[in-house]
Subunit: 351 residues, 2 copies
DNA sequence: CGGCAAAACGCAATCGATTGCATTATTATT
DNA sequence: AATAATAATGCAATCGATTGCGTTTTGCCG
């Protein structure tokens, strides 16, 4: 109760002394080393339990030079995609016997850098990162790579070679989303894009353009609305801009769901029928897709699986198992989820 | 690039040797100890930067017996409330110079216990917990409290005295939510409750009952629908049950938003007008409240602030500043957020 | 220039667990 | 029963930083 009760922890030395054996034997016994007799092992384990002994991971880490700790660096923890990603990482890391330290950059490059330093100081075994929106300079990651600490990027990754990453094929996903709209009969398709220096957004934009070209639809620059954060507010602004065009678009492929939902709400407020006058598809397949009316079509983005894949990737690197260049990059599958917001043909109602 | 490049880290010994001074001096210089000369400090700092020295937090922790690490134990990371809570904890902890290790119990008591052991092994400075839904036995927390490691409960806490916690006044919040419905003219109010062994749900239920009594409305047990996880599916079931009653309720106070949204959807599918025939209010004020149509009234639950408050509480305990019994429990403010789902009087439209 | 206090710095132990290399106890072999 | 062989266990250094206390250096005054 009072402040100063720092009962010292039981250590292997305490156990050793009580059993009149050496600390080395205790250490080996606890880890089931083969060269320790069964009776000794049993005695040690029993006393350990009896005294409430708990290994000191810090001391162990220092000696073995292995922290068994994964570091995570993301923009914001409280985002649907990110929190699912983290949930996946935590699960996979724990199952492999690792702890997880988490940090957030708030999308600020400077904070990202500071946090990376702190993670390094903790001597993490591996780092899993989804870049801050701001980040364009990747030099602070060399601190890890130069010291043999695996760095695996997830979702938002640097635009360069020789990195390990887990991602989705944003180009293809965007292509499919766009073609889906086209197949529904849309011909004036707008695109709401995110910050272009982030590869994921640039790829989604490219996929959109490629789909238009393949279907012989002219690419109209005015229909490409450049956003940045793709927040709800930004989505509203973009929707306003898009619908002010003459003629207005008959479809929108939005690079995330948050902004797409704003677009739906704005369009509805203007009395525009969705999907009849305006078909909309988002990206991520956030839970809000099912809540909004009409439900929002989207691209399923396997967040938790990406986290698990990132951990596996990191473990493979640590085990020295990544040899081929192709193994450096893991691409997970996405798929279009069709809901009412883009279902002009009524294919949902049929079955 | 190849596997075996474990360039050994630069240590204070390396710096010491190069400067022909002792490691103790380097250590003190880096920490700005007053008994070290200015020129020495400068020289040390410069060489440290030049050689890319980074302190080994593990070694430091071992020696000082301070890990500067907060442990978090929650049910699921990817839940709106929880992820915001964690975001708040991470922020406050970092600002106070602490790392954050995160674990999730998946609402399984056994996993919670295992994770707690692992956190203890990491010698965390303090623990912040939101209990697993399953948990009814709190004995594994004594491992921490007995060793002087602060444990602060957030949101879901044990039903006992002598614990530190950060919470909201669930009774009052529920009372206000219920009275709000009554003031809107409702008289047959249903309640969707969560697992009763969790104090937060029991308190919400009590608040609901108290509000009815105060307003001279008979408490009808059939109108209290007992849920457990209050998932979307469960919300659907409860809504079905509630609306099958004769006569059906004219309002629902649901102990979370997820289930409330399900209720809205179910009611709409049955052609029931909201809020005219059925007024609904949820709890948490999740983002979906604004997305669903009609927008869902709710109780604002300050997740991130609760996380920050929990960190402050833990730091205060560590500093030996918690003396009074009252200081052990921090209660944050909530408020009713009125939206269309319960606005029968149209007060929203007026201004 | 001697003397002394204050300022700088070094020694060596310490934190708790791990491990290479002995050393001792036990069992097997002939 | 003596010796080889094997199984068990112990010694002591180590990981990197910190710290109480002792030692050296510097600065200042008479």
């Amino acid at each position: 109760m009072s402040k100063g009760d720092k009962k010292k922890d039981v250590t292997i030395h305490d156990l050793a002394q009580e059993l009149k054996i050496s600390p080395s034997t205790v250490s080996r016994a606890l880890r089931g080393h083969s060269s320790i007799g069964e009776k000794t092992k049993k005695a040690v384990r029993e006393l350990a339990k009896k005294r409430g002994y708990r290994p000191n991971a810090i001391a162990s880490s220092l000696r073995t030079n292995q922290s068994n700790t994964f570091g995570i660096m993301v923009s914001w923890i409280n985002r649907t995609f990110i929190s699912s990603l983290i949930a996946g990482i935590e699960k996979a890391a724990r199952e492999a016997g690792n702890r997880v330290i988490i940090t957030q950059s708030h999308d600020i490059a400077e904070l990202e850098k500071e946090n990376l330093q702190a993670l390094y100081d903790s001597r993490i075994s591996a780092l899993i990162v989804s870049l801050a929106m701001e980040t364009r300079d990747y030099s602070h990651f060399s601190l890890f790579s130069k010291n043999g600490i695996p760095v695996v990027f997830v979702d938002r990754f640097p635009n360069k070679k020789d990195i390990h990453k887990v991602h989705i094929n944003n180009f293809n996903a965007a292509f499919e989303a766009t073609e889906h709209l086209i197949h529904q009969g849309c011909s004036r398709l707008a695109h709401f894009g995110g910050a272009r220096h982030q590869a994921i957004y640039e790829d989604r934009r490219s996929g959109y353009i490629a789909a238009l070209k393949k279907n012989n639809i002219d690419v109209d620059e005015k229909l490409i609305l450049q956003g940045n954060s793709l927040s709800a507010e930004e989505g509203l602004m973009l929707a306003e801009q898009a619908l002010a065009l003459a003629p207005p678009p008959d479809a929108i492929f939005c690079a995330n769901d948050t902004a797409a939902v704003s677009a739906i709400r704005y369009a509805k407020s203007k009395g525009i029928a969705i999907p009849e006058q305006l078909a909309i598809i988002g990206f991520n397949n956030d839970p809000i897709c099912e809540i909004i009316d009409p439900p929002l079509s989207s691209i399923h983005h396997p967040a938790a699986e990406m986290g698990e894949a990132a951990v596996k990737q990191a473990l493979a690197i640590l085990a020295g198992k990544i040899e081929t260049e192709s193994a450096r990059s893991v691409t997970l599958e996405t798929h279009v989820v069709i809901r009412a917001s883009s279902d002009k043909l009524g294919s949902l109602a049929k079955p």
